[in-house]
Symmetry: C2
Subunit: 388 residues, 2 copies
Amino acid sequence: MRVHMPEGASAVAPGLPDFPFTVEATDGTARAGVLQTPRGTVFTPCFMPVGTKGTVKGVSPDRLRSLGAQIVLANTYHLAMRPGTDTVQALGGLHRFMGWNGPLLTDSGGFQVFSLKTTADIRDEGVAFRSVYDGSPHLFTPERAMAEQRALGGDLVMCFDECPPAGAPAAALAGAVERTQEWARRCAVAHREAGGHGCDGPQMLLGIVQGGVDPALRRQSVEGLLALGFPGYAIGGLSVGEDRDETYSVTGYTAGLLPADRVRYFMGIGDPAGLLEVIERGVDLFDCVLPTRTARMGTAFTREGRLNLKNSCHARSTEPLDADCDCPACTHFTRGALRHYVQQKEILGLQLLTEHNLRFLFRLVEDARAAIVAGTFAAFKGARGAPW
Amino acid sequence: MRVHMPEGASAVAPGLPDFPFTVEATDGTARAGVLQTPRGTVFTPCFMPVGTKGTVKGVSPDRLRSLGAQIVLANTYHLAMRPGTDTVQALGGLHRFMGWNGPLLTDSGGFQVFSLKTTADIRDEGVAFRSVYDGSPHLFTPERAMAEQRALGGDLVMCFDECPPAGAPAAALAGAVERTQEWARRCAVAHREAGGHGCDGPQMLLGIVQGGVDPALRRQSVEGLLALGFPGYAIGGLSVGEDRDETYSVTGYTAGLLPADRVRYFMGIGDPAGLLEVIERGVDLFDCVLPTRTARMGTAFTREGRLNLKNSCHARSTEPLDADCDCPACTHFTRGALRHYVQQKEILGLQLLTEHNLRFLFRLVEDARAAIVAGTFAAFKGARGAPW
């Protein structure tokens, strides 16, 4: 599957800040790396929890830290609509705003302007859409996406891209690759002109590979981005409805085209099985609302698979959610009590389940990293992925 | 105002467990005491946060502890309806259920069966009512209230009482005092017959004084309860809609009738001004949902009074909620960010505001205690109560 793996250090274009990234070990195509940001070190592979509107729902920053979060993601689209990135900047930037002094990644808003289904017009200039908050008209361009992200001041920032849905016609996919390439160029220019800095320090800008499930388009997209010399690369446009086997196949193919010495971010995957699949294929970073959103629905991740606390069989269970877990929910509460909180829509229930699902994923990924370092990732994936 | 203050130790009836309570200092009628429960020491005056359904909404037990909570209250009515006290007992009792190993107080359900307005019939046997959860019929009697509280296993438990609304006719008030007295007798009998123990240790049973705002009825109620020899006494039937001056006047009168060596609990007060008033009149314990409920509405307690974060003037404020406060909200977040969370109904907003309001009250009461010990309570009350 792997087609091309550039040797040695890849070049980053002048004026684009680059945080040191080192691959410490590989096991097959899986990698254990270290990304050193100005706000702390991120050991990869690493799952990034999503703080959509500037908070991981129901989890305080200190708890997030103690659960093992290394870097948190926030959504530029939502923060640009409410309270406005100018307000976030006036309040000291996103780190101060969120009470999180560790590394932050902001997306560009590209995914939301397409996925929230309020797109009015996609043109070369940018995307016109209506706010999901109040219907007001907006135009996101590559330049505006970069400006919004500067005002937020995340450590890692993303290019503005066009993300078509699964099953988009070939011409639409090809058009999206070309437009994403041109927008990436404009993002790099805008970022360079702004000195590579946000309101609160240097920002590492990642390019986003598009191309759907078409290998030729993926290759075209990668080659175009490589020519622009980004310090890191994201694989976008997957987990948008395509078949899971295709997701993994395209991920493996695309990762194999990317420079070995650059960090790789798969946008939008958070189920235990999926994480192990993309880790196996050489992905370093990933994010998803799945663990936190399913927790709020009453579902916990466990070594044996998903556990739905709404099921009445748990009503009198004195077992912990997961006997192997060291999170507050598992060390201090029975399944029966947690079920009561979930059934009664008590906030503590979703807090505890969110913390648990995050802790479960953080440990899974930490253990995956240890297995990569030990050269036992295949066996690890077989054992831990099996119930999923 | 003070009419009667028995000297020396008051007698507790045989078979009713009594936890050591010592008044360490007095300042006027205000007291600084120590209540030693089997699960920890409670320094009084002490505000008890309310964990209605087995959780203080939005606050984890470890956070509750670190904020300064000494003892937590839970509602027997709600837990009897959902998940059922038998289920709580099967899950290890209420301490294990809540993940809180400190002292717990359960009420008797008496207040809810009246205040939730689903009362079908009040008779000498008990109160017939319909569950607010599913409309199912129930009968709470003194014996059942004690059985429910045994199954929960709180450390402090309450007699089942009749609590008329403010403005009830004189005959209704008098009837409630007589019935409350008879029910208190039956509660004491039931408790003694059960060995004074709940599912999880000895339980200290408190009598509840009724009588509305009528001093003669209050005196009758106190004298009746004293004859039954409870190890502690609650002042019930206030904060039910009567004039605030009457609340304080009746509280002072009633507290003055109670034995000096017994703990006194005012049921249902939680605003800073009101706490200082009842502390001044010799109350040791109090509870209320006010600080936690108002927090969920976006209102914070501060040294300058209430602060409503929904007010747009806070949108870009980089100030903390309260410069004197050491809670997570005040040490890590700006008013602007907190307002954003409140406006967006982000769970973190209500978590942080709930923690803040609790911390504010815990410190206010701790400071009040220190002032009592120092003999400076009047000045303290004048200074800290003024903005309220």
